[in-house]
Subunit: 414 residues, 2 copies
Amino acid sequence: MTPVPAAAGGNTKSAVGGSRLGPKGFQAAGIACGIKEARGAKDLALIYSECQAQVAGLFTKNRVKAAPVLATRQRVRRGMCRALIVNSGNANACTGHKGLQAAEAMAQLTAHALDIPGQQVLVSSTGVIGRPLPMERIEQGIPSLVARLSYDGFPDAAEAIMTTDTHPKIITERVRAHGDEITIFGMAKGAGMIRPQLATMLAFIMTDAQVDAALLSTLLRDGVCSTFHRITIDGDTSTNDMLLLMANGAASTRAIHPKDSRFPPFKEALFRVMDHLARAIVKDGEGRTKVVEICVRGAKNSRAAERLAFRVAHSPLVKTAFFGEDPNWGRIMAAMGDAGIAFDPQRVSIFFDAVMAVEHGVSVPGASEEKTRKVLQQEEFTVTIDLHAGSAQASVLTTDLSSDYVKINASYHT
Amino acid sequence: MTPVPAAAGGNTKSAVGGSRLGPKGFQAAGIACGIKEARGAKDLALIYSECQAQVAGLFTKNRVKAAPVLATRQRVRRGMCRALIVNSGNANACTGHKGLQAAEAMAQLTAHALDIPGQQVLVSSTGVIGRPLPMERIEQGIPSLVARLSYDGFPDAAEAIMTTDTHPKIITERVRAHGDEITIFGMAKGAGMIRPQLATMLAFIMTDAQVDAALLSTLLRDGVCSTFHRITIDGDTSTNDMLLLMANGAASTRAIHPKDSRFPPFKEALFRVMDHLARAIVKDGEGRTKVVEICVRGAKNSRAAERLAFRVAHSPLVKTAFFGEDPNWGRIMAAMGDAGIAFDPQRVSIFFDAVMAVEHGVSVPGASEEKTRKVLQQEEFTVTIDLHAGSAQASVLTTDLSSDYVKINASYHT
């Protein structure tokens, strides 16, 4: 794999590998092109790899898939890409044939400006559903977007993919192994509509390791199980979710294989990146005042544990009780009973952090409500539910349901 | 069936059949016995039938069942009862063996005061989960509750079963057929935790028709499909739901059978009572500002229509958009896509009342957003989703998700 020169017009501030944030051979940019109403709000992002990158992706399971999801999924199947263009402010979803044409045009215009094949440009969108993409603005924006590509453009790109996020979410991990210094960089957006199947969540991860697309895909599927698929804010799943992992090999002397000694540290670093981004999304949950881990243990199997944990994490009554800092464990029991999973309520213990509130399905005699209340007054805490029925467990990270969640979602366009 | 004299100490204001609200031979009372914190708030209700009544019931499907649900379900299986005692302010759920003892004691104390067998007294509770029932207060209250029994006690009883309800929910229907004047009276409570499987919803229906328990049960199961099982507020299902239907025959010269000409008008009147109570519950939904009917039509089968309608009705994003009076149909499409039901997004039409906003899965060209907004500014409106894939349909009645919902549920005990 031979690094190629920086993009035409690239405002490169350092040589390949000289970036503070991004992996070697990747450049980024983010600009405001006028899709968002707020003047000057960044809404167009570009990631560019100076050399051919292997790519894997996971996409929304929502049956209503946005045009860019369809366009990018088809491209990712080939396993290779050079660039990714993302807009915020408009989801290009439920836009019919014209929407597909717009997603295709976005890729082709970017390819033309970068002088690469159109099939190597991935496309992603997030924002309001059902409105035509303002292609004129995007077309006008692309030349200046390409002109601003640089090794330091990652924060701008991360900002340009935000919708109701209050801040950009980025992380860089570095792994040293056998002389290679590998960088993994991740950026994500998403503040509502988060839940398993990758709700309106965009996450893009780039690395300069050399890894083939099939292995990238395996890593992605493994990694989401304990990260992106274990977070939930409101149980709504979007039309536009996308998680992409690109590897351009610019810092690797040879390809990483699963039997390679470099594989475990690489995998761990990648999972740390995924974990960080998933947690960052929950922590920036719309209107949230709490981050709560729901841990179900002692289950017969992990499916049961997971379903119970999600049912509790999705219950509006449980979530409003968290917001009210109220250790209302009865709502937790009621939500569990409604999960379609068999368990014996009389064996259940419930802990708020280390404080046991329920044992054998009833209030712990003499348990101090003051102590449990203190736990709930914290910004982050864990609810542990022990079923005493087996050894499987599952954890889900969620938020409370606040008045601000309602305000944000009642006023966010259309 | 021979009517028996009014209960000992019954404060009967009129002869059997003279009540304005209740069916013949039924008496009711509601008092404050100190379970609720608010001084003077009614929290103990009694329904008494002067003669043996046939009874049928439906109970929560939540795996965590409150003690009174267990006690009453077992009694209802026998098909006969004479009385029903209900407390609000405490659910007697997740209270273990002591809770079962308390439910049993409530029945026995009532039976003793009324001089009837304990197995003929049904018990129901609603309120906070996980707290021991204050049996002393209930025991002290029962004599004065019995003393206040009267033909005019139904409004008091309806008030005494309320929790976060803003008003009592009662209805009387009368049917004349072949000389019999039959009365059907219903009362219900429930303002949150409402959804299919009878979330924290208590509904008690009494009639002076003569109908056997098996037929009552069939009627109940039929009736809920288009009434109580088609309403949803927040998707949470409680530990205490109960729907009871009692028939004491005090106004019937002979039993009603399905082939009887009196059966259709009786059934229709009963379903009107159920429909009224179900709608009353939604209209009093916690913090709701809107009542919205979600109608999915043109589906391949009714299960698909129902799942899609419930998925839309449960989506926090759709519900907050209703609160914001925002015709954000993209959220409706996204929720549908997440229902696990196959459909072609490009065939979908969406109407807000009569205004078509979406056709072939995209915005209707030239559709006036002003018109759709006007529909959403109404207190009640219908969202019709046509899949153009078949002839099945289903409707669900729901509410918006408001800031007040969050406030109410964040502060409602424990």
